[in-house]
Amino acid sequence: MVVCTLCSCYPWEMLGLPPVWYKAAPYRSRAVKDPRGVLADFGVSLPKEIEIRVWDSTAETRFLVLPMRPEGTEGWSEQQLAELVTRDSMIGTGFPKAPGAPS
């Protein structure tokens, strides 16, 4: 999960302007202390044994998450896979879309 606790640093060139929630106090304050609580606000839960890594963007380096490849996408083209990728899956607050799910 990527955050900027001090301001709102975000990979503009890759993802566009950040959403309001990324720049607002609830996300900036909680992402580094209670990321599972933040994920719950997005309707996402992860198994207890999964390690959660949070990147606080405190310098001019910008981060984005490489989303996990969904099951059932073997042999898919780059373009097909790209259609499953969401903005939030690159911030680290959601999964990519599942194959066949409504877009």
Partner: protein, 219 residues
């Protein structure tokens, strides 16, 4: 500075509220503020660290009650008045009353827009060898400068591990004060959740910051 902008680990701000189909801007003035800040930065009126410092210096109740672009606007106004680009009389009148102060990079033109929306480069030549290498244990210094810094409070005094060396970069602490770029080595430092938040913290959590060398001490 130990301001309310340094939010990591604070409680009480409530839930994160994603907005479905969020527009790029919620009102027209937000786009104008974004344009003004980028244009004045590109014209040489200030650097990115100075602009962050002016937002941090907003009074806490103003900072917390203002939207992102409102903070940008208020910080820009304070900064332009302090640097002499506009006068309080100009702001009161809503237009230029005083003759304008020349900009370092000259007049800003439409053809400059694309260039200024591309990020600046912050890597610099190294003035010395790095003190740390990946795998080293380090402590984030317990420092509390009243001026701009990018070392968040929640890691100060805590021990982490250097994960990555990013090379030398402009040092925000001096750049924000217009005291020079003073390039410093920059590292990604990883902290265990339990080190930061104690025994009640999430045991599966690891948090990293990007830390400039002067923020760190060897163990």
């Amino acid at each position: 500075m130990n301001g309310v902008h340094d939010m990591g680990g604070m409680d009480g701000f409530g839930k994160v509220e994603p907005e479905p189909n969020e527009p790029m801007f919620h009102t027209e003035w937000e786009a104008r503020v974004l344009a003004m800040v980028r244009a004045m930065g590109a014209a040489g009126a200030f650097n990115i660290d100075t602009s962050r410092f002016y937002r941090e210096m907003l009074p806490p109740h103003i900072y917390l009650a203002s939207s992102y672009y409102k903070k940008w606007f208020l910080g820009l106004e304070d900064m332009l008045v302090d640097k002499g680009f506009i006068a309080a009389e100009d702001v009161a009148a809503g237009h230029a009353v005083q003759p304008p102060k020349p900009l370092k990079h000259g007049k800003f033109a439409l053809a400059d827009v694309e260039r200024v929306m591309v990020r600046g480069k912050f890597g610099r030549a190294a003035p010395a060898s790095p003190k740390f290498k990946p795998g080293d244990h380090v402590r984030a210094k317990n420092i509390h400068p009243a001026t701009h810094t990018r070392l968040p409070r929640y890691v100060r005094g805590h021990v982490g591990v250097i994960e990555r060396d990013h090379g030398c970069h402009v040092f925000p602490d001096t750049a924000a004060m217009e005291a020079g770029e003073s390039p410093q080595w920059l590292y990604t430092v990883v902290f265990d959740g339990a080190e930061l938040w104690g025994a009640d913290g999430d045991p599966t959590l690891k948090v990293s910051i990007d830390a400039f060398e002067p923020y760190l001490e060897p163990l």
